[in-house]
Symmetry: C2
Subunit: 233 residues, 2 copies
């Protein structure tokens, strides 16, 4: 299998929250994958999917896209391997996807969108600035005019996840599953585009995130991130 994975100017930096869901999902299933660095403007490379975003997974002659559909496909194609979404867990995992995207992504995007622009390959920078400034309705550098207020909002938005993982090791229970990989991907997105931390070290969410970084021989922890000095790792 081949995974098209969003990359920065430094191609070792892979930061898409949606691609991280699938990288953890493939590790969960124990399936090897060849990772192909992809940039926002490489629309041609994934044209067989009929859309322009990653993750895109190629399995033989199948071209799959959309992280949710890819997770369902992996469970369907490999029912003998550990389930990503257990029987009965689809509804709750579907809710987790929407909670993550509706409650965390907007505030996090404001906080890191300028950092993302700073690490992008030259050919992606104009595309990214144009599309994101249109969506945000303001300049990337002014996306979060009150950073402290946005950090407070993030802290509040994380409360349901905080209470959940204060009471059990993983969202899915005693072992991680796709319901964990979804919010993990989002916090890993932040980790891979910034050199600073947005979570307090004593936050139960941080403890859970540490457990997530430890999974699969430190798959998440080994991911290069920008150095404090500049964009390149």
């Amino acid at each position: 299998m081949r995974l098209y994975d969003l990359a920065a100017a430094d191609e070792r930096i892979r930061f898409s929250p949606y691609c991280w869901r699938i990288k953890l999902a493939l590790a969960h299933k124990g399936l090897p994958v060849e990772s192909v660095p992809w940039r926002f403007t490489d629309k041609e490379a994934i044209a067989p999917t009929g859309q322009g975003r990653v993750p895109v997974l190629v399995d033989g002659d199948r071209w799959l896209h959309d992280s949710w559909d890819i997770a369902l496909y992996l469970d369907r194609a490999h029912p003998d391997r550990p389930r990503l979404i257990a029987e009965g867990a689809a509804g709750g995992t579907w809710f987790m996807k929407h909670w993550t995207e509706a409650s965390l992504h907007p505030v996090l995007l404001r906080l890191i969108v300028a950092d993302i622009h700073g690490i992008l390959a030259a050919q992606d920078q104009d595309y990214f600035r144009t599309t994101r400034e249109k969506a945000l309705g303001r300049r990337l550098e002014e996306a979060s005019p009150d950073r402290a207020a946005d950090c407070d909002l993030l802290h509040q938005a994380l409360e349901p996840l905080r209470r959940t993982v204060a009471g059990q090791d993983f969202v899915a229970g005693s072992a991680p599953a796709f319901a964990d990989y979804i919010p993990f991907g989002t916090l890993q997105w932040v980790r891979c585009v910034t050199s600073h931390d947005l979570l307090a070290p004593d936050d139960p969410v941080s403890h859970w995130f540490t457990r997530m970084l430890d999974l699969y021989d430190g798959l998440g922890r080994r991911a290069p991130r920008p150095s404090p000095q500049g964009a390149k790792a």
Copy 2:
């Protein structure tokens, strides 16, 4: 079985979000229950539980409290009847509980706390005012100084539920389960203490709530609510 169920001055009005979770749960399992109206200050009646809140379910000589623990008990005690929390769904349902309580309850409480006070039995009013004003840090009548802003916040807070039930009939999937009864209880709390609606009729959340009100021969829909003229239904 006997369920202690929070009641207003008019004892037909039963408004606790946590009790509604269990009334739907008992209907889901097809278990008959004798409902006992209970007021906030009736601490003696539920003293065997060692705490002062409802729902309290009495099954033979067992006294059970806490809606989450009661749901787990019902699945354990009646494994032959439809599961409230499917195998594999515990993590997602646990998250739904925390999302509902952390993201919906605070803003909804501000919007309806004065309405609740208005329908309470005389002996509950002082207790309710004292405890809630202490928690809110302000007078009940000033709990939501900017009502339009709180309504906007509620609309935003509901977005993960909105996206979830726009794509499938129930949170749990094609059939309802405890992951639905949790947010249902919360919106039913609002419905049972106010005569006005907080949701737009074309909101997908409203469509889901309508499906929920239809369940079990209209168990939720038949619940008396205050008349527009005053506290009594």
